[in-house]
Symmetry: D3
Subunit: 165 residues, 6 copies
């Protein structure tokens, strides 16, 4: 049996929480596709390419991980990639509820694709890409929340964003 | 005792989840008013009239159902209509919390009007108007989620919306 | 349309929370049967008869309320009584979850019987029969939690229970 | 990569909910061990052997499923079996919370063993072994909740249990 | 030991829920700083100054309360003020989850500052500044939800906001 | 202002989770009474005295902590001790709900005593006395979950408990 799993997300930017989940999932399935969602409406901080490069750099040492893109329905992307599993991390009850609704809808659309949930590690359970960006913009220290590569990218990106004054 | 109940919502568009609740509520009270919320700030996909027509078509066979409009405070609309009951469907815990907060506020504003909750049927518990629209726009199959009439309306509406390319 | 509703419970003893729900439900349906669950395994403080007498006394002024007993499956009792509605009060999220599970099971067993949920009034949301008994046994003041009749019954019951020392 | 997963439980008796999860998990991992918990304190209805026989009968057509027993710490059993994954089904938020607590504890005890959660199918989300037994004892119809084999076993078991009267 | 606590919020406008929490917190700590968040992105109804004046008027009789402003990271403001405690009110489970995530992040940023939660009083548990404004704009009665001062300010503010017609 | 706080619990036995909360609370209030609940119905593993000794040993370096006993109503004990604050740790949503119900009841019984909640540290959020005892009995490693003193006590206690075989 050879099983491909997909771990979808925005990864804007990738955090230690994401990377922990990628590492743990890669041990369970033959191949893991980390799939970056292209969502033009959301005005991301990092371009698709920048996010792909950061993810590649941080997962370089994991042999069975591949970075991909998708837009449209996740389950159709999964079907095209021959993936049987979607990976979702859960942290809080409210995550969980939204995830169950999406899982039911995905099951309705593609009954053969299974969603499996992994619990966030305790020390990463409060990290989200949005919160990392907010803390960084307000001058807080984000080492320990993202890998050094990502911290450097955030620094150069957000310095550009701000007007010199 | 003759009791009128109100089932309020945006119905943009009506789903099988809504229609299941309408059918079940209509068996419990003498008269059921399905009340479409006019919320100009929300940029709905369907006009008030289009939503009314779809709801009328889908509830044609239920004698004690009537379609209405409201804006402003729901409890005042209910009082004007002589309704003693508000119907709310609940699916998930997060729905439930928001509903409890609204129920407390409505009770504060009009202590004589009672809110009753009905649980969504299992097979419809993951359907929402927003999710139906999202899935449809991304090319997913929504039969089974909305009645055929509504599916046809969505098709013609969303085809107009997209630029020919 | 004439609708009978059933409000089931242990009522060991009835609290202000129960009576609030009985009063509110009695305004929504033509007839309300308050159904005391006979559960021999649970070792109740009050006998079935004592609970019936307390409930009758506290609901004497509500014309369309009747007190009954049941054991076995609630939905079969409801069917025998010609009831179309089960009333359940909800206070907290954990109540709610258990209630949803029971509602799904009851719907599976008797699809024609509908469960409706009413939210506990804010000032009664922390009262349960068990907690009232615990507080009373520990010497706390329970006026405001149960009607005076019930307080008197608790007093005489629990004084008998304790060894004179 | 060859991954063994363990699906632990009491299975007293197995339900359609369990079997749905077994079937779905067996498609994701190379080998699935369904592990029956021996808990002498709990006074089960069915003996370990009876549960094993029912599970074997119901999973006969799934090649990579094996039935096992365990007592003591689940993660140590998993380590002895060379399993890298624990499977847990989740239905409601309260399940979920308890599961997260156990997952943290198991991760503390054996960091290399990963717990993955699968969401119960909507139509089985209200079924539990305990509820099935309760409904059956009260004379309710449980076809649709358990496989025919299990229903037959329940019938013969619970008939023995009751005094002839 | 002299402990300063900070109660942060938008207070746009202050409600009876906020004032209840301020009063209760002021009894627990030597000094309480009510800290108004300056968030230019949020388009508040009341200016920072108007909010400060309303808070001062409503807390005039509490000796150890002081009104302040902050922007940027709350924990850095707390550190600058020599505060050891952050006060947060909780009403519903969803509040609670978000609060736990923020608390973890704040603890990561400043391990010496402790967040303590106080439960909203039952009669105020459904009040939020946003809901008060919505109800007021729709013509509902908000006495009982905010102090008279705030009600008067809302009246003059929202009358200005609306076009004369 | 001199404020005494009470941190009540069974502490059967004390865990790192309890000790973390004691340490953090002792920094917020002038005096902290750790109050061991005497509950004869619960069949504790450790006697009241054993629990007091373990708590004293583990809190020896915190000057403003005192160990006490109570039975009966917690709020009456608090009133007798002149305490204005009850401390409760929260970990999960289900904890939280039960705590809110108890807080409402305590507020009803003694409106002047305030309950404040502190969030469990992430690394201790899955530890409970019951789970520690279960894991220990099943042969799991509990270092990291309780202080060495407590681990030694558990060892000698549970060895006595088991029959030599």
């Amino acid at each position: 049996m050879s099983v491909t799993a997909i771990y979808p997300g925005s990864f804007d930017p990738p955090t230690h929480g994401h990377l922990d989940l990628i590492r743990r999932s890669s041990r369970l399935f033959d191949k893991l596709v980390v799939a970056i969602l292209r969502n033009d409406a959301k005005q991301p901080l990092f371009s698709m390419d920048e996010r792909r490069v950061m993810l590649e750099e941080c997962t370089r040492d994991i042999a069975n991980v591949e970075i991909g893109y998708f837009q449209g329905l996740l389950v159709e992307y999964a079907a095209r990639r021959g993936a049987r599993v979607l990976i979702r991390g859960i942290r809080a009850v409210s995550d969980y509820e939204y995830e169950l609704q999406m899982t039911s809808m995905n099951r309705h659309l593609q009954p053969d694709i299974e969603t499996v949930f992994l619990m966030a590690s305790e020390q990463y359970s409060f990290i989200s890409s949005r919160l990392v960006k907010d803390v960084f913009r307000l001058g807080g220290d984000i080492s320990g929340l993202v890998p050094p590569t990502v911290e450097a990218e955030l620094k150069s990106k957000i310095t550009q964003e701000l007007p010199k004054s």
